[in-house]
C-alpha cells in the first residue's frame, strides 16, 4: 500500500491540533447521525400534526415543530443524510474530473494543456452559482441532478491544483528514472506522480465538501434544490424565513446545523493540510 504521508509525523502533528481533532469529531458525528437517523429521530419527519403547529422547543419536541406540525429535530437529523450525500458525491464527481483533466494537462502539456486550461478559465469566468441556477431551471430538481450539477461546476480548482503538482513532479528524477526504465505513461501517472500529489488533493476535496454543502443548502433554500417533503436544511430554512417573527427555532436550528457542518469540514481539511505539509513543520 502506498504511503500517503510520513505517517508517524503526520499523526503526531494531527493529534496535537485540537481544532483538527474537533473537526474530525464533528464529521464523524455527522456520519453516525446520517446512518442512524431512522433510529435517532423521535418522530417520522414527514408526518403532519395539525394539533401542534409552530410549537417552540419543549420536552416532546426538543427543537419545536414547523408550520405543518412536523418535528424539527427529526427533520434536521434526516437532513444530515441529504447534506452528506450531496457533499460527498458532488465532490466525488468534481475530484474525479479534476484529477483526470489536471493529470492529462500537466503530464502531456502542449495543446491538451492549453485546451484544458482554456476550459478551466472559461468556467471560472462564469459565476458558478448563476450557472447552476440556469442549469437547474432546465432539469428536474432532484437530489441526483443537484449533485451532478454541483460536481460538474466545481472541478476547476482541483484541476489547476493537480496540473501544478504534475508539472513539478514530472521533471523529478524518480519520474525520469521510471521513463528511462521504459515505464508506460499510465504507470508513471498513477504509480509515480499521482500518489505523490494525493495529500493536497485530499485536503482540497474535504474543503470542497464544505462548499458543496453550502451550495446545496442555498439551492434548497431558493426552492430549486431538494424538494419538500424531503427534509433538507435549506428547505427547512425556507419555512423558517416565512415565520421568522413568530418561530425563531425554524431558522436557528437548521442554520446551526449548516454552520457546524461547514466548520467541521474546514477544520478537518485545514488540520490535514497543516499536518501533511512539511513547510509548516518549522514550529517544532
Amino acid at each position: 500500500m502506498p504511503k500517503l504521508f510520513e505517517q508517524s509525523v503526520f499523526w503526531q502533528r494531527f493529534s496535537h491540533n485540537r481544532l483538527a481533532l474537533s473537526g474530525a469529531a464533528i464529521i464523524l458525528a455527522l456520519i453516525l447521525v446520517a446512518l442512524l437517523a431512522p433510529f435517532l429521530a423521535p418522530y417520522d419527519p414527514a408526518v403532519i400534526d395539525r394539533a401542534h403547529i409552530l410549537e417552540g422547543p419543549n420536552l416532546k419536541h426538543w427543537f419545536g415543530t414547523d408550520d405543518l406540525g412536523r418535528d424539527l429535530l427529526s427533520r434536521i437529523l434526516y437532513g444530515t443524510q441529504i447534506s452528506l450525500l450531496v457533499g460527498c458525491l458532488a465532490v466525488g464527481i468534481s475530484t474525479l474530473i479534476g484529477i483526470l483533466l489536471g493529470a492529462v494537462a500537466g503530464y502531456y502539456g502542449g495543446w491538451i494543456d492549453r485546451l484544458v486550461m482554456w476550459g478551466v478559465n472559461t468556467m471560472l469566468a462564469i459565476p458558478t452559482f448563476f450557472l447552476i441556477l440556469a442549469v437547474i431551471a432546465f432539469l428536474d430538481p432532484s437530489i441526483w441532478n443537484i449533485m451532478a450539477v454541483i460536481g460538474f461546476t466545481s472541478w476547476m480548482g482541483l484541476t489547476r491544483l493537480v496540473r501544478a503538482e504534475f508539472l513539478s513532479l514530472k521533471e523529478r528524477e524518480f519520474v525520469l528514472a521510471a521513463r528511462s526504465l521504459g515505464a508506460r505513461d499510465r504507470r508513471i501517472i498513477f504509480r509515480h506522480v499521482l500518489v505523490n500529489s494525493l495529500a493536497p488533493v485530499i485536503v482540497s476535496a474535504i474543503l470542497g465538501v464544505a462548499a458543496a454543502v453550502l451550495v446545496e443548502s442555498s439551492l434548497s433554500f431558493l426552492g430549486i434544490g431538494v424538494q419538500p417533503p424531503t427534509p433538507s436544511w435549506g428547505n427547512i430554512l425556507t419555512a423558517g424565513k416565512a415565520n421568522i417573527e413568530i418561530a425563531w427555532w425554524l431558522s436557528v436550528f437548521p442554520g446551526l446545523a449548516i454552520l457546524v457542518t461547514v466548520l467541521g469540514y474546514n477544520l478537518l481539511g485545514d488540520g490535514i493540510r497543516d499536518a501533511s505539509d512539511p513547510r509548516l513543520w518549522s514550529g517544532r
Binding site: P2, K3, L4, E6, R172, E173, F174, L176, A177, A178, R179, S180, L181, G182, A183, R184, R187, R191, H192, V195, N196
Partner: protein, 321 residues
C-alpha cells in the same frame, strides 16, 4: 574494441518567449556534439555547470527529444525507433542521477523501486521478483531487510546504492551516470566509485559519466570530453587530457583542481567573466571572450574539432587556420 555509442552533430535547443509578445529566444544547450565511445569504456563528459552536459545525457537517454543530429547505440539509430523498439532498447541503457533523494519515489518501497524494471519488462513477479531484488541489493552491499523499507529511511550513500541496484536490474550495457557522486560526502564517494568500478568489471559495463569533479574523472575515466557552451572543445584519453591539456579552457579547468602536493602545484589560471548565456553564443570560437590566449582569428573563425594523434581539439592555437 567495438563501438557502443556514437553521436553526430547532436543538438538540443530550447525555445523560450519572454511574456506573451516578448522576443523569442533560443537556448542552445547542446549545439552540435559528435563523439564515439567504445564497449567497456568509461567515457567522461566534463565541464562547468550549464555547459549542456546533463542535457546531452538526457537526449541520449531519449528523455528529451533532440533538435537535430543523430545517435546510434550499438549500430541502432536511436531516433528512428518505434515505441516497442525504444522500450526494448531502454533495457540496455540505464541511468543514475545526481540527487539520490530525488531519484527514488518517496511512496515506493525499495522492493517495488528496485523491482520496477523487472515488472515493466515482465521479467519476474511474485516470489521470483523478491529473490531477484534480494540478489541485486546484495550486489550493491545492502541487506535483504532493506526491501521492505521506504527511501526516507536511508542515507544518501545507501540511496545511491539503491539507484545503482535499480539501474543494474536489467543487466544493461551502458549506464549513463549524471553526476552520480556530487551529492555525496567524500568518504561515501569513494565507496560508490569502487562499487561502480567493481560492477563494471563483473558485468562488462560501459559508463557515460557526466561530471564536473575532475578528481573522480581522472581516476575513473578512460576517455574524457571537455564541453564548453554546448560543444566539445577537447577530447582524448584521460591520461593525455590530464597530463598535457591542449585547449586553453581545459588548462584553466585543470588548474582549478586542488593539488595537495605543493611541489606539483600548477599556476592557477583564472578566467575573466562568466560563462556567456547559451542564448547569446559568441562569434568564432565560443571561448574567445574569456580565453587568455585568444588572437586574431578567434573571434571570427569557428575552430573545427580536429583529430590529431588519437585526440581531438577545437582551437586555432593547436590547429592553425
Amino acid at each position: 574494441m567495438p563501438e557502443l555509442l556514437r553521436t553526430e552533430a547532436l543538438a538540443k535547443h530550447f525555445d523560450s518567449t519572454a511574456g506573451l509578445f516578448g522576443p523569442k529566444t533560443v537556448v542552445r544547450a547542446v549545439d552540435g556534439v559528435s563523439f564515439s565511445m567504445q564497449k567497456g569504456e568509461v567515457f567522461a563528459v566534463v565541464g562547468e555547470s550549464g555547459c549542456g552536459k546533463s542535457t546531452l545525457a538526457r537526449v541520449i537517454l531519449r528523455l528529451t527529444e533532440a533538435t537535430a543530429g543523430k545517435a546510434w547505440f550499438d549500430g541502432v539509430d536511436l531516433f528512428g525507433l518505434n515505441r516497442a523498439e525504444l522500450k526494448a532498447l531502454r533495457r540496455r541503457m540505464q541511468v543514475i542521477f545526481q540527487d539520490p533523494f530525488a531519484s527514488l519515489n518517496p511512496r515506493m518501497r525499495i522492493l517495488d523501486a528496485v523491482g520496477e524494471p523487472l515488472v515493466i519488462h515482465k521479467e519476474a513477479s511474485g516470489p521470483e521478483l523478491r529473490q531477484r531484488v534480494y540478489s541485486l541489493l546484495e550486489r550493491v552491499g545492502l541487506p535483504n531487510s532493506a526491501a521492505e523499507r521506504y527511501p526516507h529511511e536511508f542515507s544518501g550513500g545507501q540511496r545511491q546504492r539503491i539507484c545503482i541496484a535499480r539501474a543494474m536490474a536489467l543487466e544493461p550495457d551502458l549506464i549513463v551516470a549524471d553526476e552520480p557522486l556530487s551529492a555525496l560526502d567524500v568518504s561515501i564517494q569513494a565507496q560508490v566509485i569502487n562499487l561502480l568500478d567493481d560492477l563494471r568489471k563483473q558485468h562488462h559495463l560501459s559508463y557515460l559519466l557526466i561530471s564536473h569533479d575532475l578528481h573522480v574523472v581522472q581516476h575513473f575515466a578512460d576517455r574524457v570530453a571537455v564541453m564548453y557552451l554546448g560543444v566539445i572543445v577537447e577530447e582524448g584519453t584521460a591520461e593525455d587530457i590530464f597530463n598535457a591539456p591542449l585547449h586553453p579552457y581545459t588548462e584553466a579547468l585543470l588548474s582549478a583542481v586542488p593539488e595537495p602536493d605543493p611541489e606539483k602545484r600548477r599556476h592557477r589560471i583564472v578566467l575573466p567573466g562568466d560563462v556567456p548565456s547559451p542564448t547569446q553564443i559568441p562569434s568564432g570560437c565560443r571561448f574567445h571572450p574569456r580565453c587568455p590566449k585568444s588572437f586574431e582569428p578567434c573571434d571570427k573563425v569557428v575552430p573545427g574539432l580536429i583529430e590529431n594523434q588519437g585526440r581531438r581539439t577545437a582551437c586555432h592555437l593547436v590547429n592553425p587556420v
